[in-house]
């Protein structure tokens, strides 16, 4: 029995749901991966600098800032799979000079760790890891490490490392564009051992001692052919022993103090959020109205006979009453079809992350509003006027199974493709046109610029939408900057690293809008920032339609995004019960003016993709787009997203087009990470708001897409099989 810290306990919860619920120091079963509770200075479970074989609980998203006078590392860690830890790092490495001549460099790196043997009996857990493996970087190295629980409070790790971990840094070619795995260097060169011991003093405090061969060197191949060794910081660490103390002061937060070789001191702060571990797991929304069982036939013979359906005033009265009750639940009753034994409601969910919760609450309200002869309840989920699925329930099942295990009502329910235009559907009057607006502050952040690592802009944003009828929406956004450090700036000047065109220079010569013959479609993005006058990031008219079952279409016209305007058309085939979907998108766009909100520049292009989507088990979704991108380059984008039932989404994408590495420039191809977290997860209050960001490697011109809002795949999926059943546990919530 290892005494887990609060952090671990909370983190453990995902592999062991019971521990989460009980808040007890429960043990993971032996078949589970070994979970760590100290994050090292690279942001992964480990000692001070060295890795261990430990993992984080599945789905954990964390961050670490680690600071010494050798480096400042900002790490984002994500447990992609119970056995696979991924980390993205943005480090300020001291003592190294590059073209920016700052006395330090800013360096991005990416790590993977895979635990391939579990701890069991005398057998330790064993992991293999790749550190900074996309291109040769300052931290490039590989390792194999074993971790064993010695006593309940002590864990020991021992491993062998290559590259940086062996004190043999890889040679960095300053001419290389980087960004691609250098497979032939992996596990090459001489290897050295490393090890660590972690003593869990009590729930809050852990002490770590380690032996590390990292000499804090970087090795460069200069253009003239010489190889230099450069120190990170002033000199090498005095000894190979490092020590650290880590204190968990809140279940999700940890601070640490450590020393490298006794002469360098460091401090670090880390946090870890687990999607399965919401502050209010069931949400704080009020209790639902309970089912109202039907009276005995003898008590209401008229209601049971169905004779009421001949009365023309019956449906309008029922529709009004039900619409009002649904409105209190954040559901818009867009239309309804009613006969003596069947009722279909078409709802738009504006409140609950889980469509199943919206469906469950609607089903209960239907039992309260409909005459007894209605036995078949059909709940159709609408999204932008498109009917994306129908849940068919028997009213007697709803009555019989209320507040029982959610899987029982799932078995009794049927999920089918919705009929786009069924007979007898009556639109609820007075819902449309619908005008919505919102005035709120906005904050925009810019990172990954070595000369200005964190840029920001703060201002006011007015968003408005005018929905003429379901599916036909005029929407726009106006922003007014108030203050910030974001400035307008041209792209880098070719051949003069670290130098950029001024905005005036950049617009003075049309040739500057091409680089190596490739039009600058994204690398001049910062020309669009820093304006003191109002900007219109988006102003569009969108039309969504459903020509036939399972086929959805969208046409969007207007200012699609900050940099492009034009027309975008999309079609998607996605049956309600199919994990597979196909789509196609064509955009004819023109580059917008840098200053004039309604003006355009000369560059015009047609882009388009055909896409295939597949929803795997455990919330993984894969998407493959093949087509033509903004710069006229042709290629493909692969995106893998992991989505948890509570709406957390973490994804990674990579795009490779027919541009050569040289034409593309630094990074070689486009890749990035997207993170999206529903606000309700943190606050407990029901809402469909999301907080999200995309971390892309660099703004380059290859593999760039137009950012069109309202893509069909995300509009359609919420009420379809995979996502609906993933959240089905909320049906009776």
């Amino acid at each position: 029995m290892r005494a887990h810290s609060l952090l671990t306990r909370r983190l453990l919860a995902s592999t062991v749901p019971v521990a989460l619920l009980l808040g007890l120091g429960a043990q993971p079963a032996h078949t589970d991966p070994l979970i760590g509770n100290v994050l090292n200075s690279y942001g992964l479970p480990g000692g001070v600098d060295t890795p261990t074989a430990e993992m984080l609980p599945d789905g954990t998203l964390g961050g670490t800032v680690s600071y010494t006078d050798r480096a400042r590392r900002h790490n984002v860690v994500f447990q992609l799979h119970p056995r696979l830890t991924t980390a993205l790092r943005y480090s300020r490495v001291e003592g190294i000079n590059d073209h920016n001549n700052l006395g330090h460099i800013w360096d991005r790196s990416f790590d993977l760790r895979f635990q391939f043997i579990d701890e069991q009996g005398w057998r330790p857990a064993v992991s293999v890891g790749l550190q900074d493996f996309l291109g040769t970087g300052v931290y490039s190295g590989e390792y194999i490490v074993a971790t064993k629980t010695i006593t309940p409070n002590i864990r020991a790790s021992i491993g062998i490392g290559w590259g940086t971990l062996a004190g043999k840094p890889r040679t960095i070619d300053t001419e290389d564009n980087g960004g691609k795995p250098n497979v032939d260097e992996w596990f090459s060169g001489s290897a050295r051992p490393f090890g660590s011991i972690t003593w869990q003093v009590n729930d809050k405090l852990s002490l770590v001692a380690e032996y590390s061969h990292d000499r804090y060197l970087a090795r460069y191949l200069r253009p003239n052919g010489t190889i230099d060794d450069v120190r990170q910081g002033d000199d090498e660490p005095d000894s190979k022993f490092n020590f650290g103390a880590y204190y968990t002061f809140n279940p999700s937060y940890q601070v640490g103090l450590y020393t490298l070789g006794g002469d360098t001191f460091g401090a670090q702060f880390s946090f870890a959020l687990n999607p399965r571990n919401a502050p209010f797991p069931s949400g704080l929304e009020k209790g639902p109205a309970p089912v109202r069982p039907r009276p005995a036939p003898s008590a209401d013979p008229d209601g049971w006979s169905g004779a009421w359906s001949a009365d023309p005033t019956a449906q309008p009265a029922i529709q009004t009453a039900l619409g009002k009750a649904l409105k209190d639940e954040g559901q818009i009753l867009e239309s309804m079809a009613l006969s003596s034994n069947r009722a279909e409601v078409r709802i738009r969910n504006t409140r609950y992350i889980q469509q199943a919760e919206a469906v469950g609450r609607t089903a209960r309200l239907m039992t309260r509003a409909l005459p007894p002869s209605v036995e078949t309840l059909v709940i159709t989920s609408n999204s932008e006027g498109m009917a994306t699925s129908s849940v068919v329930l028997r009213r007697s099942d709803v009555e019989r199974l209320e507040n029982t295990e959610a899987s029982r009502i799932a078995e009794a329910a049927q999920l089918v493709d919705a009929e786009p235009r069924p007979d007898g559907l009556v639109t609820t009057p007075d819902l449309f046109p619908r005008f919505r607006w919102k005035l709120a502050p906005y904050l925009e952040l810019g990172v990954f610029d070595p000369q200005d690592p964190l840029r920001y802009e703060l201002g006011a944003e007015l968003k408005a939408s005018y929905e003429i009828m379901p599916g036909l929406i005029l929407s726009g956004t106006v922003r007014q900057r108030a203050l910030g450090t974001m400035k307008q700036r041209g792209p880098g000047i070719p051949g003069q690293r670290g130098e950029h065109y001024t905005p005036e220079e950049y617009v003075s010569n049309p040739d500057y809008e091409y680089f190596n013959g490739v039009p600058r479609v994204r690398s001049d993005t910062r020309m669009y920032t820093g304006s003191d006058s109002p900007t219109i990031p988006e102003l569009t008219l969108a039309w969504y339609a459903q020509p036939t079952r399972a086929v959805y279409t969208r046409v969007t016209v207007g200012l699609l995004e900050r940099a492009y305007g034009g027309v975008s058309g999309e079609v998607l085939w996605k049956p309600a019960n199919s994990p597979l979907a196909f789509g196609a998108e064509v955009n004819r766009v023109r580059k917008r003016d840098f200053e004039d909100v309604f003006g355009f520049r000369d560059y015009e292009v047609t882009t388009g993709h055909v896409s295939a989507y597949y929803e795997f088990a455990e919330g993984f979704t894969a998407q493959l787009d093949v087509g033509k991108y903004l710069a006229g380059d042709k290629g493909a984008t692969f995106t893998l997203t992991r989505e948890f039932a509570n709406g957390w989404r973490v994804g990674a994408y990579a795009t490779k087009t027919d541009l050569s590495d040289e034409e593309f420039g630094e990074g070689s191809f486009d890749k990035g990470i997207t993170i999206s977290i529903p606000v309700s997860w943190a606050t407990g209050t029901p809402s469909r708001d999301r907080a999200g960001t995309t971390l892309r490697s660099l703004s380059r011109d290859g593999g760039a897409k137009v950012h069109v809002n309202g893509r069909l795949y995300d509009k359609v999926r919420d009420a379809q099989s995979v996502k609906l059943y993933q959240g089905w546990g909320s049906f009776w919530r």
Partner: protein, 221 residues
Amino acid sequence: MITSRIHHAALSALLIAGLAACGNDDTGNATNPLLIAAKAAGGTVAQMRNEKAEPAAPKRTPEQMAAEALRVNPAPLVMVGFESLGRTQVMAMTGQNGAMRTFMAPSEEALILRDGMVVGTRGLGNDLSVAEPGTEALIRAGRPGSAKRVMRYYSGDGLERPLSFDCTVGPGPKAGVVVESCEGHGTSFQNSYMAQGGHLPVSRQWLGPKLGYVTIQTLRP
């Protein structure tokens, strides 16, 4: 010049800060990640403040609350004390489905009972989705024995997760009290019931790890 620019910036900052979001659109907005962190932190602070402020709030006695509720509300009523929340309130029946009754507080938090036996809770943030007490018949009959009890919870990832306990039912320290002792998942709890002719008018039952115990007293059956 510079000063005026700083003034201008400071003024704008104030204006922006004062610009709490307003509008009639509260759905589906993309939000900055910092907001979520701020909201989470704000929630914790508010919670801590509430925890501190709670004891100071003037309170009516349970007897006063019961008397008033019986006067104004004709529906079946229960008096419910959430021990972990330090809160006692009267809840009124809002629906009945067979033997299952849903009781709600004015804040629309709900407690679902089957003739006195807790079936579930709603709206408390750490809700019990459904309890399946295999011990129910023993308890109502006041008969000793043992059986399984399954408690299902809404977990943070939108699923329903079951906990299964081994329970034994036996007489309590006082006459007329039945005690159900349960163990499992490294924890244990004891529910006590006053069983009268198969009904459970008074009881103290465990809702779950976060919510702890609740005491339930029937005011009007």
